[in-house]
């Protein structure tokens, strides 16, 4: 394998003379080796930029069947014809897509130990109670895969296997369950969907695959956390979850500790499919590095998440707590195709300092008697901007569709912004659609009131914000909810007073 890879790199060299860039890569990879990187990581460093060759190389590297290679190539060709969307209320310096690594970027500035990590980040880990052994990993310190989490994941897998549940990296699913992948991949988010999803389809590195067989209720919360620790999925993550008839699954993504990543651009895709009477609950806590207080650095997070309620009486529920990233562009959506299907969206999006978030949902009512619920809670502090953007669409044939939307904004300080863009497209007169929106401020009166009862300002803001976002936190699994509340206080530190 390594040989083959070397050959490819050489082939490339023939076409392009060894540029300065490549020389740099070479130097860097050599350097990293000194600090104990496993050899095959550097060998896998592909050159910068994207062309058909790179796409083929990614597919070959993952030993993918022909249909996947073709699918990736179709996506790549389509992507070449597309332009980055400009409609979000986000400002950022343009991403140079030719200046990125699309597979296993050589790690440039990985700190060698916790001593080299931003002390503020370490203080945050302390406050969130992140176990010591996980801190290095989260801070991006160059360590080998954590043995513990690998073994945890394995124990897990055996238990699930007995029930016929498949929970594995998507690269593994492509090899071992190609029929399932072929049947469902791209059916909810087609490769033509949008700029970022198209790019993801061409170059996705890894992600999760879940299949719940008919009538099975998944006995535990599935979490991508363990698995990601075991194998870094990087910037182009792809997740596919299929709940067969009458099944149930709850899936947790992310973790509350701030995660560092050397890749600035993240473009993930998540597809959910619920067949008749099936239910999928998908919870996210996103806390990617948001940049420093001056707004430098930080992840650009452009995510496409969509669920298809394909069957009658199916249900998909999204819950998200978004506190990280410099830029968040994300609209977890539900396509309510089956009759009586239900879509839910619960969101807390918190921005501080110079963070920007443009997030919301789309509820597309196609089937009869479909229902959707949107509870969105935006929190803006510092000099940040927080935008809710949502669409409720009721198709001509969607008789008796119902939607209730509540979009609240909370402002902390007077230099931040909150914006709400609700779109309603109703084509059936029997629809009942309600929208409520409020904007409020964390007032000095509230903080003083809590101070006067012995509660510190930091805790007071945390309490007020958690109270405001309570409806959403209630949807999170218990442990996650407690962590998420702690996260609120930590994320808002220094935003008041």
């Amino acid at each position: 394998m390594i040989k083959e890879n070397n050959k490819m790199t050489r082939d490339n060299d023939k076409n392009i003379a060894m540029s300065d860039d490549q020389q740099t890569i070479q130097n860097i990879t050599d350097q990293d080796y000194k600090y104990g990187f496993v050899t095959d990581i550097e060998m896998e460093a592909f050159p910068k930029g994207l062309d058909e060759n790179i796409v083929r190389m990614i597919s070959a590297k993952k030993k993918e069947p022909e249909f996947m290679t073709e699918w990736r190539l179709k996506a790549y060709r389509h992507w070449r014809k597309q332009k980055e969307p400009k409609w979000p209320k986000l400002k950022y310096s343009e991403v140079d897509y030719e200046d990125l690594y699309y597979y296993a970027a050589p790690k440039k500035e990985a700190p060698k130990s916790l001593d080299e990590v931003d002390p503020e980040l370490l203080a945050t880990f302390e406050k969130l109670g992140v176990p010591l052994e996980e801190r290095e990993l989260l801070a991006g310190v160059a360590v080998d895969a954590v043995i513990d989490s690998v073994s945890v994941a394995t124990t897990f897998k055996g238990k699930l296997g007995e029930l016929g549940i498949i929970f594995c990296p998507i690269s593994e699913a492509i090899q071992e369950h190609p029929e399932l992948v072929k049947k469902y991949l791209g059916t909810v988010v087609p490769y033509t969907d949008n700029f970022y999803a198209t790019l993801n389809s061409a170059v996705f590195s890894d992600g999760s695959f879940v299949y719940i067989p008919p009538g099975v209720r998944c006995p535990m919360e599935l979490s991508s956390y363990f698995r990601i620790n075991a194998s870094k999925t990087g910037q182009f993550e792809r997740t596919l979850i299929v709940a067969d008839k009458g099944s149930y699954v709850s899936y947790l993504e992310g973790c509350t500790a701030p995660m560092r990543d050397e890749n600035q651009l993240h473009a993930a895709v998540v597809e959910l499919i619920a067949l008749d009477d099936a239910e999928i609950k998908y919870s996210t806590v996103q806390n990617w590095y948001a940049g420093n207080k001056e707004g430098v650095g930080g992840i650009f997070n452009f995510v496409t998440k969509r669920g298809l309620c394909a069957g009658n009486n199916s249900k998909i529920s999204w819950t998200q707590v978004e506190t990280g990233s410099a830029i968040t562009w994300k609209y977890p959506s539900c396509v309510l195709k089956g009759d009586k299907s239900v879509g839910e969206f619960y969101s807390v999006a918190l921005t501080n300092n110079y963070q920007q978030a443009d997030t919301g949902t789309k509820m597309i009512h196609l089937g009869k008697n479909t229902r959707s619920l949107i509870i969105s809670k935006g929190i803006s502090a510092g000099k940040s901007n927080n935008t809710y953007r949502g669409l409720v669409k009721v198709n001509k044939k969607a008789e008796n569709a119902r939607n209730y939307s509540q979009c609240d904004s909370l402002l902390i300080g007077d230099q931040c912004g909150a914006h709400t863009y609700p779109y309603l497209e109703i084509e059936n007169p029997s629809a009942q659609v309600e929208h409520e929106a409020t904007t409020s401020k964390v007032s000095e009166d509230q903080i003083f009131y809590l101070n006067q009862r012995g509660i510190s300002t930091e805790d007071a803001v945390g309490m007020i914000v958690s109270g405001y976002a309570r409806e959403v936190f209630q949807q999170l699994p218990m442990e996650f909810a407690v962590e998420a509340q702690a996260l609120m206080s930590v994320s808002l530190e220094g935003s008041v007073g």
């Binding site: 509230q446 309490m463 109270g467």
Partner: protein, 251 residues
């Protein structure tokens, strides 16, 4: 316990308190009365550490500590309590968990063990009888959707749970009907011990029918112009404030 000397405070460059003196000892109840705009609420806010007030001169000591140097939450943990004239609503924050957090902050500060949910609930149920409060108010968000009377009773409940050394009641009687007034006053009377003290700020003499003060002070234009016993309150009720103001001008 509380010693205020020549306290001068201004808001937006405008002097409000102009050399106020007050001594409060353990076991005492002091009533501070005065016309609107005399500086009563400013006094309550400055003592509890609210922002937006500038101390130009003078001092305030509480239990020998320099009060004006302390953060509001530290004053609270040291046993100072302010019953708000307009209690604040905190949506989504459960009244019980708020109170539990507040009590445990005080206990932590004193080096006592924090109460768990069970011990706390039994304590709060006992104290609720003091203010004849309905139990469902505990499950609701702090002050949200409470009637005016319920909010004031909630203040007294918090006072009962936190068991302060010095309680300042800022126009707690305003907006209360006679029944609520009796309940609130009854709560204060039951909490009274030789170790604690109360400063009751009020516009009317009415509350003093139920809480008998040891001292009554009249605050006018930022100064205490007259001090006396409860008889002074009756006199004020009959004659109003004007005769006092005229007297003080003559002086």
């Amino acid at each position: 316990m509380l010693s205020i000397k020549n306290l001068q405070v201004s808001v937006d460059e405008k002097p409000i308190l102009k050399g106020l003196n007050l001594e409060v000892k353990a076991g005492e109840i002091h009533a501070i009365m005065g016309p609107n705009g005399s500086g009563k609420s400013t006094l309550a806010h400055v003592l509890s550490g609210r922002e937006g007030y500038r101390v130009d001169a003078g001092s305030a000591h509480y239990k020998g500590l320099d009060l004006l140097e302390m953060a509001p939450e530290i004053r609270a943990r040291e046993g100072m309590f302010l019953a708000f004239q307009y209690p604040i609503e905190i949506p989504g924050v459960n009244n019980t968990s708020f109170l539990k957090k507040a009590l445990n902050e005080v206990r932590k500060h004193r080096g006592e063990e924090e109460l768990d949910a069970i011990d706390f609930l039994s304590l709060i149920k006992k104290q609720m009888n003091l203010v004849e409060m309905k139990e469902d108010l505990l499950k609701r968000p702090v002050n949200q959707g409470f009637s005016g009377g319920e909010k004031k009773r909630n203040e007294i409940l918090q006072m009962a749970v936190l068991n302060p050394t010095l309680a300042i009641l800022d126009e707690t009687d305003s907006g209360l009907d006679i029944d609520a007034l009796r309940i609130v006053a009854g709560g204060v009377n039951k909490l009274r011990t030789p170790e604690n003290a109360f400063v009751i700020i009020t516009h009317y003499q009415r509350l003093l029918d139920y809480i008998v003060p040891d001292f009554v002070h009249v605050l006018s234009d930022g100064q205490i112009i007259k001090s006396g016993t409860k008889e002074l309150a009756y006199e004020l009720e009959e004659r109003g404030y004007d005769w006092l103001l005229e007297d003080s001008e003559k002086v």
